[in-house]
Symmetry: C2
Subunit: 234 residues, 2 copies
């Protein structure tokens, strides 16, 4: 079955779940497991077994009844599906707190992303290094992007600067922007943007907390034993 009409290879919710499968499968591989059933994956990830089978099917993995899915093959298929098999270089634009953290975060390597440099408009920051990565002036952006064939940028500037920075990224030839600002960016059609909305996640958590416990009387001292049967300790 070829993809289709919309050009979408898989529904976005499926794409969003794939990294979780990948994480688990790698853990299983490290533990020496060669096969795993959709049922087992589902239990571990709190999903329905049928959903796991459907999701994996999108990547092209084929399982064997009674045996399950081959761990190594599943990993390879997911990585290929997400284009995470070849490491991709990226730059961070805006080297404030969040940007600085992402500059040094080696964890993205597991997802095929290697951050090579940071860019900033603040002369005080330019020329320094953060976690061993150089911070360069925005003027150098286009040059570096073209020379290193960089397609992806991580945007962590203050909200007010987001659109201006985006315009420069587009001019420099960047094709994909991972947007950590709350701004809805204007970009030409050939540039894709994924907004990472931390506030959305916090909103969900806030509502869930209110649903679970409701508003709590402020500043009332709870006595001794807090909860269930925990014997945990301190």
């Amino acid at each position: 079955m070829t993809p289709l009409s919309t050009g979408r290879v898989a529904p976005l919710p499926v794409v969003r779940r794939l990294p979780a499968y990948l994480w688990l499968l790698r853990k299983l591989r490290a533990a020496g497991r060669t096969h795993v059933s959709g049922t087992h994956i589902a239990q571990d990830l709190n999903l329905e077994p049928i959903q796991v089978r459907k999701d994996l099917a999108y990547t092209g993995v084929v399982g064997r009844p009674r045996v399950g899915f081959e761990v190594a093959e599943s990993i390879a298929r997911i990585e290929a599906f997400l284009n995470w098999n070849n490491t991709r270089d990226a730059v961070v634009v805006g080297t404030g707190r969040l940007g600085g953290a992402l500059l040094g975060y080696e964890g993205f390597l597991a997802y095929g992303l290697s951050v090579v440099a940071g860019f900033d408009s603040d002369p005080a920051r330019v020329g320094t290094e953060i976690h061993g990565k150089p911070v360069m002036p925005l003027d150098r952006l286009e040059d570096l992007v073209r020379r290193l064939n960089i397609r992806m940028a991580i945007l962590t500037v203050p909200a007010e600067a987001a659109q201006v920075a985006t315009d420069r990224l587009v001019a420099a030839g960047i094709e994909a922007i991972w947007n950590f600002t709350p701004v809805k960016l204007q970009v030409p059609p050939h540039v894709v943007v994924q907004r990472e909305d931390l506030a959305a996640g916090l909103a969900v958590l806030s509502v869930m907390l209110a649903e679970a416990h409701g508003a709590r009387a402020p500043a009332i001292e709870p006595e001794s034993a807090p909860s269930e049967e925990d014997t945990s300790e301190a």
Copy 2:
């Protein structure tokens, strides 16, 4: 209409969109606007007008035909709906790169969240300050949580330490965990967890990029104009 069966006040997708409305409405307020139509909001946020009206209705705002929604009232309603009207204290557990960044990130204040301290198991970090916030040993967690009546924790420890740290958070009386690790945490039913899955966002971006441009020949120097219909391949 009262909420209902599931106890959910609004569908989660609605909750996730509310912060974007809030952001825009505050911008409008700062610009002196007193009213705004759902149509206008929709244009600005790339949504359907009907979706905006429905979403806002969940918060209890009532609009006026021909006039639209009152900006100030809408802001107040959304804030109340999300429990963002009273600032809530939180702690960061794990003061590595991401944790350190979140410790110092003042932006959460706009979302009613104030980070008061960081916790770490590494003796080298304990006792120091990051962005003016103290880093304390995990032993002090329970004491501080109880004294300051803290309900929420931001979890940014390495994956291997995630479950152990979670157990301590639960024992200390934390009720909500904003989980930045890739681990599916085990918690008792009275504790809510929101997993912030950066890898999921990156997966979406990767797939969108591949759909828009396809795989690009690695390390081939593009001459002048890279653009559209290139017959790329390898």
